[in-house]
Symmetry: C2
Subunit: 389 residues, 2 copies
């Protein structure tokens, strides 16, 4: 029998169940693997990502699996009590007790659970604090969700200089780039390694408010030796992992990389743009939201024109009519650049990623890419492709 603090176990179930769907074609993947051996470990996987949550316990050693972790969590939290006890019964069932609740849950043998993915040989590692994770999150808005160009479904990382690394994401319509210093980075991560969206979402949702920092690792897994199960483990595929402490629970998420070639995005970052406009970021956010509200369905193109001392933000809805919203701006855009149009959603996303008080928009004409930057923050830049209006 195993006894574990109910609140901690509940939190660990929630963390480990992040990759467990409630209905599976492969039934074992609907379960968590529970291993008690010095620490109590809960592991889940969807075969792309692996979660692992570790916490203290008292009682016997043993391996078993637990079905429907979200339902178990809901039941033990309803039942209350300080501790949860778990007792595997010859592999086919687990006796769960919490408060006055006693359940005999049908389950599957622990041996059916796939061999875990963990970074066994670290080739690159770095510590990220909440600040670094926040910087990384800024570019995630531009990750593509399109399946055909699957290599855009992630964030591209490359070493820039010294201890600074560049993270970029693009979906072909916009490109967001941020440079993050990682002073304790150690080892080598190949340039243009693509970190997948699903892993990033898992990591951000759980570690975003880390106090002690989290450890990012890149390296090879250790897998059973193909020559025989008794021989030493051998190196397997390349994985990334993020590991940190969450209120006393050691939690890690291991993921695969996107296997593809990231486009050379440096070529599309425009330089020497002719004109600029400088304005308060909140003003343009408000303007785009207000005109885009009066439109049915998806955000349409928002047209920006440049009267003296102003930017005029305009949207024409086929169903509802035309809406305009002027904001103050300092700019040198001449009259022959009649306007520039952007997808309203992309423009809002980009403005939100910028974060500062002011924004500088640079452009050449109605057709070429525009560059948006924060004059006080050289680490971040956004390139936005215009749309016809």
């Amino acid at each position: 029998m195993i006894q574990v603090d109910r609140k901690q176990f509940s939190r660990a179930l929630d963390l480990a169940a992040a990759v467990v769907a409630s209905r599976w074609t492969i039934p074992i993947l609907g379960n968590l693997k529970v291993s008690a051996n010095g620490v109590l470990r809960l592991e889940g996987t969807d075969l792309d990502n692996w979660t692992c949550a570790e916490m203290p316990y008292t009682g016997d050693a043993g391996d078993f699996t637990l079905p429907q972790p979200r339902l178990v969590r809901s039941a033990i939290n309803t039942a209350g009590g300080d501790t949860v006890s778990l007792k595997p019964d010859e592999g086919a069932a687990v006796r769960l007790e919490a408060g006055k609740l006693a359940s005999d849950l049908g389950t599957l043998p622990a041996d059916d659970f796939p061999f875990p993915d963990r970074v066994g040989i670290e080739e690159f590692g770095a510590t990220l604090g909440a600040g670094e994770l926040k910087q990384l999150k800024r570019v995630m808005a531009a990750i593509s969700t399109e399946e055909t160009r699957y290599y855009l479904n992630g964030v591209c990382v490359r070493h820039l200089s010294d201890w600074t690394y560049r993270f970029a994401a693009t979906d072909g319509h916009r490109l967001l780039v941020v440079d993050i210093p990682l002073p304790d980075a150690d080892g080598v991560i190949p340039n243009d390694t693509i970190i997948p969206r699903a892993w990033l979402n898992l990591v951000m949702a759980r570690f975003a408010r880390t106090k002690d920092g989290v450890r990012f690792s890149y390296g090879r897994t250790m897998v059973p030796n193909k020559e025989g199960p008794t021989l030493p483990l051998q190196a397997g595929g390349t994985r990334i992992a993020m590991r940190g402490d969450l209120d006393g629970i050691g939690f890690s998420v291991t993921g695969k990389l996107v296997d593809g070639k990231y486009p050379d995005y440096h070529r599309i970052i425009p330089t020497d743009l002719k004109y600029f406009a400088r304005f308060r970021r909140a003003d343009l956010v408000q303007a785009v939201h207000a005109v885009a509200a009066l439109n049915i369905g998806k955000y349409r193109a928002v047209k920006l024109t440049f009267p003296k001392g102003k930017i005029c933000c305009e949207l024409v809805s086929a169903d509802l009519g035309k809406s305009v919203f002027d904001i103050e701006a300092e700019h040198d855009v001449p009259k022959d650049v009649e306007h520039i149009g952007f997808n309203g959603r992309y423009l809002i996303d980009t403005l939100q990623a910028l974060q500062g008080e002011e924004v500088v928009l640079q452009l050449n004409d109605s057709a070429g890419p525009a560059l948006l930057t924060d004059p006080t923050d050289t680490a971040f830049k956004a390139v936005l492709m215009p749309t016809r209006v």
Copy 2:
């Protein structure tokens, strides 16, 4: 031109738009009718229910319609500013201005809007405070959603004695009944008048926290005279309405009644039941929630057995196994009543409608209806049909 306080107008849009869907086969029903004549009135309808919100304004008199009220609300709230101005432009468009936002919204003529349903000749009226609405809401959980027995899709009201009225709802599996004193009730409402669910939901969502009370009316509408448009209005169909003040906005919802015969539910309220069990309400709620959590999909039957001094609550999930949860209870149920089974969802709903500290469950056997009451509250009773387990 009309000028109106932005926050008040936003609230009124929200209230009046409650019955307006964003896509309509009849386009005019996607609009609100705006009438400025001493007060500014916003009206909406889905032809079953009518909303009407009235507030002060400054400016000209006139009638027009406003498309997509929810989008307009979102836009003016984003744009900010103290006032909103509206200017109809020959019926085909409305000029909307709020803060720095200016929109020309395409719209439809006010004459296309249907003639409003209002209770013109009140045959019954009563004031309900937040307490009375809360009592009425208790029975709403049992309203049927099944279309075939459409007459169960509402709450049945009848005069009980003096100034007390009885409200009941049932879906054939459970029956909830509450007696509400309405001391200022005036006039006559026919027995077994059926108030529809949709109207009740509209009313409860908006008036539940009324401070000054709301006026319930039952009576005939006044409609244009069929003999000619210049002749006086004539009496139309029967309607119900609830009217009250919401932060300075006079708001009413008018609805049709369910046209059908309510079953004689008094016959199924059991009397002289042989056995009783008395327990803390929160205990059984916890027990049912805990065992029902360990089940995939809908709530299944929960089996109650009656060991000495206890009720044992049990659920067997086909996928997960058996869960049990005991609670303390005082009861005289003998051993030959082996168990009684209830749908877990209905049992929870009923326990939640009961509200008091303790519950008394009365029953005869495993097959007959059970009665659940609060020993301190004679106004409310619940009848629950058992299910086989």
